[in-house]
Symmetry: D2
Subunit: 339 residues, 4 copies
Amino acid sequence: MVGGSGYTGAELLRLLSGHPEIEVVHVTADTNAGARIADLFPSLAPVVGEERFAPFAVADLTGLDLVFTALPHGASQLLIPEMLERVAHVVDLGADFRLPADVYERWYGERHAAPELVDRFAYGMVELYRDEIGGREHIAVPGCYPTAVSIALAPLVADRSVELRGLVANAMSGVSGAGRTLKTTSLFSEANENVSAYGLLTHRHTAEMEQALSKVARRDVEVLFTPHLVPTTRGILATCYARPATPGLSTARLLEHYREFYANDPCVVVVDEPSGTKATYGANVVHVTVRFDARTDTVLAIAAEDNLTKGASGQAIQAANLVLGLPETTGLPLVGVAP
Amino acid sequence: MVGGSGYTGAELLRLLSGHPEIEVVHVTADTNAGARIADLFPSLAPVVGEERFAPFAVADLTGLDLVFTALPHGASQLLIPEMLERVAHVVDLGADFRLPADVYERWYGERHAAPELVDRFAYGMVELYRDEIGGREHIAVPGCYPTAVSIALAPLVADRSVELRGLVANAMSGVSGAGRTLKTTSLFSEANENVSAYGLLTHRHTAEMEQALSKVARRDVEVLFTPHLVPTTRGILATCYARPATPGLSTARLLEHYREFYANDPCVVVVDEPSGTKATYGANVVHVTVRFDARTDTVLAIAAEDNLTKGASGQAIQAANLVLGLPETTGLPLVGVAP
Amino acid sequence: MVGGSGYTGAELLRLLSGHPEIEVVHVTADTNAGARIADLFPSLAPVVGEERFAPFAVADLTGLDLVFTALPHGASQLLIPEMLERVAHVVDLGADFRLPADVYERWYGERHAAPELVDRFAYGMVELYRDEIGGREHIAVPGCYPTAVSIALAPLVADRSVELRGLVANAMSGVSGAGRTLKTTSLFSEANENVSAYGLLTHRHTAEMEQALSKVARRDVEVLFTPHLVPTTRGILATCYARPATPGLSTARLLEHYREFYANDPCVVVVDEPSGTKATYGANVVHVTVRFDARTDTVLAIAAEDNLTKGASGQAIQAANLVLGLPETTGLPLVGVAP
Amino acid sequence: MVGGSGYTGAELLRLLSGHPEIEVVHVTADTNAGARIADLFPSLAPVVGEERFAPFAVADLTGLDLVFTALPHGASQLLIPEMLERVAHVVDLGADFRLPADVYERWYGERHAAPELVDRFAYGMVELYRDEIGGREHIAVPGCYPTAVSIALAPLVADRSVELRGLVANAMSGVSGAGRTLKTTSLFSEANENVSAYGLLTHRHTAEMEQALSKVARRDVEVLFTPHLVPTTRGILATCYARPATPGLSTARLLEHYREFYANDPCVVVVDEPSGTKATYGANVVHVTVRFDARTDTVLAIAAEDNLTKGASGQAIQAANLVLGLPETTGLPLVGVAP
């Protein structure tokens, strides 16, 4: 694992400690290289003992079956090119290989250092990209928000029961989504007893949502995405609004449609009443529900997930399982830690 | 004060303890009658001493200048009729006199016991109903959500710069909005580390929002309202979406329009960047901002408030100040307790 | 499982969903009998499907290998007597069979209905009672606070390096320790942004701590226990103070002593720096550390655990594993869900 | 005000916005000089308008009646010497002038730059140092923990009803006590759902507690202080343990003694049942209670306060009021913002 000292790294180590088929043999960190893993993450003490973060050296990875990379965006595209020759599979949790290079450059405002490699990565949202994942060696793990929003809206755009323009994705995330980086807005005293909107109109995850939903719809889909910060550590709730494109919608029929759409997806649970995020705490699962409001002629779809598990490290393992030929839920809890 | 043992009652007592012109002479409670106020609310110990909640007896109110009633909906309409003959002004924090009786009956699903009295109450949202408040003796204090949503959207519907149908009000509230009543969803272990949607499509506050905005627009306005429960004690953030009805919108022009619209409202602050709810903690203030997204042709308006202060007890005092001929901010803090 | 609709019941179902050797075949509830399990605990939706809580009927338990009972204190002693003839092992999470009947009656202030059965139960704190657990058929699972406090202090009293009188156990617990019962102090708006002491001088768990530590010391041990409520859902931190009874103590020697004392206990981790409770979130583990302060001649021992896991349902499974002849950590996570 | 961009600075500005006799004319910041105050602290928007933090220049302070300094420890002793010639009163919220220089140097591990000035500062804990405050020009505002602990224990050591050695102060603080500085332990995702002990045996506030209590006892008092971090923004709860030095103690007599001891202190409320910290939220008040446990022969004293108000900025204003000849509670709320 490369970049194991952030929250997604810690979550990977937690989940992999219970994975029967994947053995963690090497964990690197950048500024934390040399530190005891258990000093940074005491929760891991029972399994990591005295193990320390190694400095990154590409040679150390040679011959590994699979490498998870959990790096800030921009960093993966610099380190990954030489990895690809040495390891069978790279599962990258960063943003660098999720989008075509030109789209990446537009939303991230910087040139892509390895545009020619993007095509070797499948977008690791298993439910919507299972076909692609089977055919590529490497995985770009989706962002946390796009996972919740795409799973909430995919059944609606798949059969074009809603307009593909003017979709609204209003989402709330726990603070761990901002990572372990030191910034004022992530301080407890700032985030606690506080709810705030941020990244208005321009949040980069918009591009991923539009890409995933456009693939499902086989046409361009347009999403206005508004993220909010709420005082939880984990959890994303996405409440999405769409205008019907076909007559005769009803909540009952939509729920039935969702159940069929996700019938073969063990990590998606379609629920009658909207689940809170806590139902998914620490679990690799999305709970989703849907409503049709005849009064205002609007469709409402709501998804809950844990941003660090299904929204990041759990989903990474789910995709890695497929790449390794394992059942997709191998080693992954589906029951949230609640209350 | 009638019904002082709930959260809005406690907040009234807190705010009135610093009010230079209103003296609290009598506080009643129902099941808590006889209890020391400081036992229920230790925060009030420095000002209430050994004072106890009195049982309700209408005769005890005779001759008072003003009575605040903080009762569950349905209860006010039973107790208030005989009060009206005995006190100069009633300021009711419940839902019973906010809506015309027929609208009340449709949304609350029960007959109104005193429909002939509704017209004697002004809707106490000072910013939008200042004219009415001047002319009536009694006040129906608005609900917490309608305050935030109406203040967020009023400038947009006032000049019809947006479509009046299909407005979306997506709001998040702290748990105190559910009051001190014992219910499972209000337990700490259920609400903490949790975000959930509730009351989908049918929340009763919808009627108030539509009423207030229709008054401002002088036409029928339609709102789809989705409330969410977030793990804060106080605070409502309303993120609202509208479709433009006029060309040439821009964020700069909208912000300017909001500043003009609220130029004479000391309890509304128009901010460039969206404030979090914590900026309003314990204060009688709404922070509001607005955006135009040219990419998706959508207008976004965001308001933050404290549901117990500007959303309830503070607003009650703000309206009471007007009724008593005082400056509207008398005794009301505008600076939030932050961090 | 009898009494599966409280928090310890839900935690048992979560943990058992990943247990390779225990299959849950029957779950009862009292007032919630007939309800879908997933409606009460949406987190369990992926594993319980449409399953409902059954009403309690002792006949339904006949022939089971093991029954977990998670009932309010007082209730177990009424239901368990007839169970004992029908099932091989009862693992009771309540307080009824933890103490000798006379001690129970003194601290709980009520007569014990089945005093003759107490001796058939071993106290299920595996680390200190492993010998007893091997020799009895039934288990009384320790309380949450006694687990943390006893594990913190046991090494000190075992070799009498501290005075056995005047021990102070100052502990903080998350709100889930009060269960799913509706009470005002468990409301989010009361518990959030609040820290308070309660149960001063007389908390019933004192008796368990003194019993467990007296067994280890083979002499009477006296503890002053002060619990506090802190705004977390899960987690107990016990900070304990003792006066040295022997010269020559040092932090280094004490840490070494603790490591030896718990060398064969996979669910206890002795750490150099004090872990926070979050390191144990959802895990069946206690983190413990110790200090000697030469300046004030005091020994300090600190333990962290999850009150619902190691403090209740996880510990129940740990003891059940022993009773069933399985390795004690079978099916139990040791890594906390952090951050 | 010098150093207004931290949390104690923001709290000063909030409290002073409601102070009838103190007008804020100048606010400086260091790294935030030039920033709009309302950008850092949106809660202050209604009162600061477009005002910006000024860079520090001692000349700008010349002639002011009173300057509050809210600087990191070590910084005050560098800036204050030249201020003392230019302003009538300095009220310093840092640690630099609270202790005799030699004690400061021992606990803070660094030389004091202005030891000759320490005597010109009174220790600003009004309840225990009212006499000194009257006679000196400048104030060193006590630390947050020493305020709670000293007020909890002072009545016990004043009449030597307890042993002066072996006092234990076990305290819990909200995260704002660590200030607005960026550090990992202050991140929401680290602090939330977490309780942890820190600063074991050596926390610097120990010296202040011992100094204040020794003054009251007129003999050396020794305290073992253990601070804990709990997931609240504000609030300190100190639970203190002492051994009786006199026979015949009882809870009733101790409560009576506390009531007499604090009879003339409007900012101390002696309560029968222990208040939680929330009762003091945003208020300049300490709630305190006491117990005698005959079973273990121990005295227990518990104090609750808001670390930013009575524990810092409120207490600063309380002392400033005295220095300015105003009633000590001028402009200070005593009712906590609860729930």
